[in-house]
Amino acid sequence: MTPSTSPMGQPLDRVDGPLKVTGQARYAAEFEIPGLLYGSVVNGTIARGRVIAIDSTAAEAVPGVRLVLTHENRPPIASYDEPYEDEDAAEGSPFRPLYNDRVLYSGQPLALVVAESLEAARHAASLVRIEYEAEPHQTDLALVRDHAHPAPGEVPSRGHFEDAYRGAALQVEHQYGTPIEHHNPMEPHASTVHYQPGGELLIHDKTQGVQNCMQYVEKVFGLQGKVRVCAPFVGGAFGSGLRPQYQLPLAVMAALRLKRSVRVELKRQQMFTFGYRPRTLQRLAIGASPNGQLEALFHGSLGQTSRFEDFTEHEVEWSGALYACDNVKLEYELGSLDVYTPLDMRAPGAAVGVYALEMAMDEVAYAAAIDPLQLRLRNYTDINGNQGKPYSSKELRACYEQGAERFGWSRRPLEPRSLREGRELIGWGMATGVWEAMQMPASAKACLESDGRLVVSSATADIGTGTYTAMTQIAADALGLPVDKVEFRLGDSALPKAPLEGGSATVSSVGSAVSRACASLRQHILDAAQQTPASPFTGASLDDVSFENGELISRRDPQARVSLAQVIQTSGTLEAEARAEPGEERKKWATGTHSAVFAEVRVDEALGTVRVTRVVSAVAAGRVVNPKTAANQITGGVVWGIGMALQEETWTDHRLGRFMNHNLAEYHVPVNADVHDIEVFFVEEEDSVVNDLGSKGVGEIGIVGVAAAIANAIYHATGKRVRDLPITPDKLI
């Protein structure tokens, strides 16, 4: 039982807030090292072929240039695939920077210019001339449909889709498309490699997995035991930091060659030269009874990938899980192109797959002439049909009901084009969101220091997600300490093992480890307290005591109490390390987070412009550790959904095989004026299966369903069904 003074569930201000608002939080490119060299990357300009010659004469003549690194003069690196396979690697043969003369995609790094100043490096990089032998390339997914191959791994199916679809009274079949999108965290990827006197490397890298990057550098360069990677602050990532990006090995190569410290920071344009959300071409066919009961569902998706790896994500599975339907057929194929491998990007798979599903559901609702929310309720299920297992908890019904109430959904006329104000048509749309509730093995250490402070640590990351704050709350709760007596450390590969910070699994995974380490530390504290002469705790077990306000208190005699500071004075520093992993009980259940999203749009038909004036997002994510930071996460996801629906798209010039809008002026993301009222709330959801804490994580769920809700609202406003994202003005005029 959590005491009322517990920090769990409290809207605590972010503990790293003061550092961030004063400019003291240091990111990967901000660590000062005497004698630091600067690297500037030269990227290739053809999509496929090979390098014939690199002329670096002019670059080397620039005063201050120390090295022009290419595949011809780089230090030795591993040859085989295995050393390059990181924790988030796709199936196939990972990209090896500066490995040989092959050009696999446009924008591939082909040289690194290293100089004594940033300006000299940048200028000299512009002087490197590369001669190519170009080969024909293909970058257009729509043109390789006939050559697609099944994605690795199986997608579930059940029943007899074809027969059931043929016999259904209502048949709705359409194609949906989503474009390439880029993560574009505000902080460009950067690595600062601090070359130590003994040849060890201390690396500050922008990453969601310090140990992932440490192992990558150790294996690729044969530096076992000589690498430490730190990332105390990460300026956004959204998946872009799940794999080591090329600036890391390039900076390491230069440091090893010159035996100097080197920093490589990518330019914004170069943020478009590695992973991205893949373009998808999807098809849904839904058969239903006249009143909207689902009888048959097909969802197929063609995603793009590179020629060297098969990138996969869960795009179609959601269609077999979200609603009750006996006959489900799912298909997932990949088209290989002369591009870099895609990369997990916020709610990978779900963002695009649930978009298509939830727009198709809206189309079914109109075919059956029933309210879209009623359609969802009519097909509600507490069982994940893909797995045939019940959900450990699924308060989606509460999300629907409370979200609809707050939005005012019951006042919505069904007919499109029925609401108007001035020159604007008004539309209301809704959609369901879903994401997994995963747990990965993780470890943490808890240490009660001699000054009475609790220091807890794990090699996880805080990419803006609030990890520092949530873990502080979990630890403070476990030991009954005020939060200002607790410090959480992360972002250092030397700390206890943690999984990649991604998939909305950090609170679930690392939080559980923190909870266990603190539980173990409680036993140590009690043991230590029992060592003092005439201890009132003699013979007591953990069940007989409580930890409150910095004191150990006997439940049998509340007068018998001792402060943790006193215990530690006698015993010296106490510490405990623990590992948490998914429990056996989880295997019997399906687990997931859910949401109901309601959106209002105002469309000016003369201009084709859309304003998303109101969004209500109701989320079921188990126990929320910090409602302030968690709501912020969901709000951010909604903002991403607005961008996905209306703005975000990376254009490819297929003749060149190259991205055209590789900057923040032409790759549009929402700005403050694009965002209006967003109401986020969490419904009550208890879950004793998902992990020790009953918390599910909120990084992904906020975006899922938002683009569909907005697109459905646009249909409601205008009567126009736009199935290819983003819904830009040209598609509405």
């Binding site: 003291q24 901000e30 602050f233």
Partner: protein
């Protein structure tokens, strides 16, 4: 000049003397004419609170105040700021006392990753100083040069709304 600025000698273009009032301190520096204010702050002066998000004036992460007005430090050459008053995020607080805008950003959780935050705060302070933070739509519009990819916009709006009056008072105090 140190070995970090080798272009000076060999390139034949001399560094220029520049004088700044930087966060209340008088600074005299020799700066190459091609060095941006942003690179000067981050790479030479250790003031990494001012962020580089795009280097093209498209994201606002490098917003600083020059003579009280907000500018993109990536689009200003350092030599253009000679004789001017430059305030960065490091110069807003008074000792341990956070500037009201900084405090409001913390209490409203007006950020996540924190990378755009110094630029947002400098922009917000500049906005108030310009007398333009009049109403929500005005703030949204006038803050739209500062991208927050984490999407904390509603909280940024709330923080600015709350801190605007105190910021006016703070600015007046500073002038006395």
């Amino acid at each position: 000049m140190s070995a970090r600025h080798p272009c000076t000698g060999g390139g034949g273009i001399a560094a220029r003397p520049v004088t700044l009032e930087l966060n209340g301190q008088h600074r005299s520096l020799d700066v190459e004419p091609w060095t941006t204010l942003l690179d000067l702050l981050r790479e030479r002066l250790g003031l990494t609170g001012t962020k580089k998000g795009c280097d093209h004036g498209q994201c606002g992460a490098c917003t600083v105040l020059v003579d009280g007005k907000r500018i993109n430090a990536c689009l200003a050459l350092a030599v253009m700021c000679d004789g001017k008053r430059v305030t960065t995020i490091e110069g807003l607080a008074r000792g341990d006392q956070l500037h009201p805008m900084q405090a409001a950003f913390v209490s409203h959780d007006a950020f996540q990753c924190g990378y755009c935050t110094p630029g947002q705060i400098c922009s917000a302070v500049g906005l108030v100083a310009e007398g333009r933070a009049q109403g929500r739509d005005d703030i949204r519009e006038q803050m739209s040069g500062n991208i927050c990819r984490c999407g904390a916009y509603p909280n940024i709006l709330a923080a600015i709304e709350e801190a605007a009056p105190q910021t006016r008072a703070w600015l007046e105090e500073g002038e006395r």
